[in-house]
């Protein structure tokens, strides 16, 4: 959170995540190199490295792209999301090794500057089947570099959320370029259709996951149509909200997270100030709403992060009447204190 930037805010989960990631990547590279060397004894070491790191990056890129929709579909995938940026930076590292080895192997030993050679060695830009695939990979690598280089929270804070988000949405452009790079390269250089088939299957899986998750999100964004009284909208029964959890509703075009905790109900804006994580999919930990993505915390009573942190989210007026939760559809300014509604009034079972 926004006090004194560190390189990495290490904790037990992040260490475990990174150890698992490093082990997985190391195992993949070792297995790929060993099997490829056995199957293709004539292949040079450089070629094997290019293929091992390229396919490793491709695999991780699919994992990175799948995590978002998987978490929307099933909360059990949330631990994968927690440190996704380290996955992304690792994926860029693998792609960089692939790119550098390729540049040296194919373009560094002629009279032409390697970068010029990259774009001019194959000039069949008018052919679909023989289109130069290496420049596509280079442009994708530049995008992945920009994403990795701006992955620290400093960049989110200083580029601003809209610019940072737009920059990181370029991952889909990079993915398209990578798919074209691999398919064209595979078709032009190899006779075995295995890699092309796997990339096609990966593309179908990524598109399908995004479509299914998007369909589920549409239902969430439907404006809540409960009865409105004095600007208050009946959003659900108290019992519809699990203790220490929230129900997400849409009011006035905005998603609102309605939390139940300690026999009280409070409502705040659903978007975490960090990376727009869904606060309503988090839970109350140590008295604070805790974002499921990266653990940013906010007090339910005023939407403020506990000191010394300074993030704030909007708050909403809440009532509980005859076991129903009513929320005013107009938000207060971020950080405005709002008294929580009591689920059970003093001396009675229902307020």
């Amino acid at each position: 959170m926004s006090v004194g930037y560190q390189a990495v805010g290490w904790n037990r989960q992040k260490k475990l995540y990174d150890r698992t990631l490093a082990l997985g990547v190391g195992l993949y590279l070792a297995l790929f190199l060993a099997i490829s060397a056995a199957v293709n004894p004539n292949a040079t070491a450089e070629t094997l490295v290019i293929r091992a790191f390229g396919t490793g990056a491709l695999l991780l890129l699919h994992v990175v792209l799948a995590i978002g929709p998987l978490c929307r579909l099933d909360r059990r995938f949330l631990p994968l999301l927690y440190n996704r940026r380290h996955l992304g930076v690792t994926m860029f590292g693998l792609a960089l090794v692939h790119g550098l080895f390729s540049l040296v192997q194919f373009h560094a030993f002629g009279d032409t500057h390697p970068l010029v050679s990259l774009f001019t060695a194959n000039s069949r830009y008018d052919s679909l089947a023989w289109f130069p695939f290496q420049p596509l990979g280079f442009v994708a690598l530049v995008i992945l570099f920009l994403m990795a280089a701006t992955s620290h929270d400093f960049w989110l804070a200083n580029l601003g959320a809209p610019v940072w988000k737009a920059l990181h949405m370029l991952v889909y452009v990079a993915y398209s370029l990578v798919v074209a790079h691999v398919v064209l390269g595979s078709l032009q250089a190899e006779t075995c259709p295995l890699l092309t088939g796997l990339v096609g299957a990966g593309l179908v899986a990524i598109v399908a996951l995004h479509l299914v998750a998007g369909w589920r999100e549409r239902a969430l964004d439907a404006e809540h149509a409960g009865d409105a009284t004095d600007g208050f909208v009946d959003v659900c029964a108290v019992d519809d909200i699990e203790p220490e959890r929230a129900k997400i509703v849409t009011l006035g075009g905005e998603r609102v997270a309605v939390f139940r905790y300690d026999d009280k109900v409070s409502a705040v804006g659903n978007a975490c100030r960090h990376q727009n994580g869904p606060l309503g999919e988090g839970r109350i930990i140590d008295g604070c709403i805790t974002c499921p993505w990266h653990g940013y915390q906010y007090r339910p009573e005023d939407g403020c992060s506990p000191p010394p942190f300074t993030e704030k989210v909007p708050t909403y007026d809440v009532r509980v009447t005859r076991g129903r939760v009513l929320v005013r559809s107009e938000a207060h300014a971020p950080g405005t204190p709002v008294a929580p509604a009591q689920v059970h009034a003093m001396g009675s079972r229902d307020a």
Binding site: Q6, A7, F145, A148, A149, H152, F154, W155, A157, N158
Partner: protein, 69 residues
């Protein structure tokens, strides 16, 4: 074209050294207590985005812009 790219990168690297040591502190108060590891991590981004950051730094020094957007 290649020379222009190399010039951009060279200026970016020189700028990034100054930015991680002083500029980041000027445009973002939270960077003042940032660790050395943090400064190393933002170096590549500073080298790549130096024209944008130069403008932010100059604005922060002249007091005409907000410190964080």
């Amino acid at each position: 074209m290649v020379h222009a790219f190399e010039l951009y990168v060279a200026i970016g690297i020189a700028f990034a050294v100054a930015f991680v040591l002083r500029g980041a502190n000027r445009i973002d108060p939270s960077a003042r207590t940032g660790t050395w590891g943090f400064r190393v991590l933002i170096f590549p981004g500073a080298a790549a985005l130096w024209p944008l950051l130069l403008v932010r730094w100059l604005r922060a020094d002249s007091g005409t812009g907000s410190e964080t957007p």
